[in-house]
């Protein structure tokens, strides 16, 4: 008697397809389609990720450059001393954000559904 019967193959492959389907539907999270730029807490620009462009955002320290390119966004340059938001690099998924605290500029990616950048329970 073989260990795996014919029906077992059916169950195994259905299981495999179910797992792949779960990964495909639950892990995509939707790609970001919009970028929200804030200065001092107020929204100064909402832009689609579809069009490549560069925004000059004025903050207390100077000008922050926010670049949108190839469905991604980043802070291209910023006068903040430690450059954290620049080092954040390209942002593409909903919920991702780069925050330049000293210059009070933040860049956040928004998708069709709001995801979370942290969870508490």
């Amino acid at each position: 008697m073989s260990l795996i019967k014919s029906g077992d193959w059916l169950v195994m492959f259905s299981g495999l397809f179910a797992v792949i389907w779960l990964f495909a539907t639950l892990w995509q999270g939707g790609t970001g389609d919009k970028v929200i730029i804030r200065s001092g807490g107020t929204v100064v620009a909402e832009a689609s990720l579809l069009h490549d462009q560069v925004y000059n955002i004025k903050g207390p320290l100077g000008i922050s450059l926010v670049a949108i390119h190839d469905h991604r966004a980043r802070v291209a340059s910023d006068p903040s001393p430690r450059q954290y938001c620049v080092k954040q690099g390209w942002l593409s998924r909903p919920g991702e954000a780069a925050i330049c605290l000293p210059n009070q500029v933040s860049v956040e990616i928004a998708g069709n559904k709001k995801l979370y950048d942290s969870l508490n329970y």
Binding site: L3, K5, S6, G7, D8, G15, W27, Y116, Y121
Partner: protein, 183 residues
């Protein structure tokens, strides 16, 4: 003055159920020593015992063994009535329900099928309890694919072990017969 005494008579069947549950408890405790990448992802070797018992003695005995295993191993591991116990119970209940539902499948389905289906039901039951009771948060669904993949993998492995044990059973071994009727 004698207080009323309740005497429980454990018969042959009870002893055998306890023995099989002890095997399952041993496996549960042993696998608790293995580190796990994610709480809840573990092989579930005790389910092999449940599957074997289900095949040899039927659903009623399998339910006894499975639930005794949940209670006894949580006592040993120190999680009795803690969330981990409730999760374990939820998982065991769901997989027993699945086994009960799939009992009448045609014989082309072997232990591997039952093991995989029970593993999926187990993780479904656990995540259901987690979602309703502990973390009613949509972020939980992010973990579902990982748990499902683990269920498929370990369900397959446990099913193969069970099938091997059934196939390799010596014809000389006389299984104790259990009367499953009145109690």
């Amino acid at each position: 003055m004698t207080l009323s005494i309740i005497e429980l008579k454990a018969d042959h069947t009870d002893h055998h159920i306890a023995r099989m549950a002890a095997f399952a408890v041993g496996l549960s405790v042993a696998e608790a020593a293995f580190p796990s990448p994610l709480p809840g992802v573990k092989p579930g070797l005790a389910n092999i015992v449940t599957l074997l018992v289900l095949r040899r003695y039927g659903l009623r005995i399998a339910i006894w063994v499975s639930l005794l295993r949940v209670v006894a191993s949580s006592l040993l591991l120190g999680g009795f009535l803690a969330p981990s116990f409730v999760l374990s119970l939820g998982g065991a209940t769901a997989s027993l329900l699945m086994l009960a539902l799939t009992r009448s499948l045609p014989p082309i389905f072997g232990p591997v099928s039952f093991s995989i289906l029970a593993a999926f039901a187990h993780i479904g039951g656990q995540l259901g309890v987690v979602y309703i009771w502990l973390i009613p948060h949509i972020g939980l669904f992010y973990l579902v694919p990982i748990f499902a993949a683990a269920a498929l993998l370990f369900g397959m492995v446990n099913g193969l072990i069970t099938a091997r044990l059934i196939a390799g059973q010596s014809p000389n071994i006389v299984l104790p017969s259990l009367q499953t009727a009145q109690h």
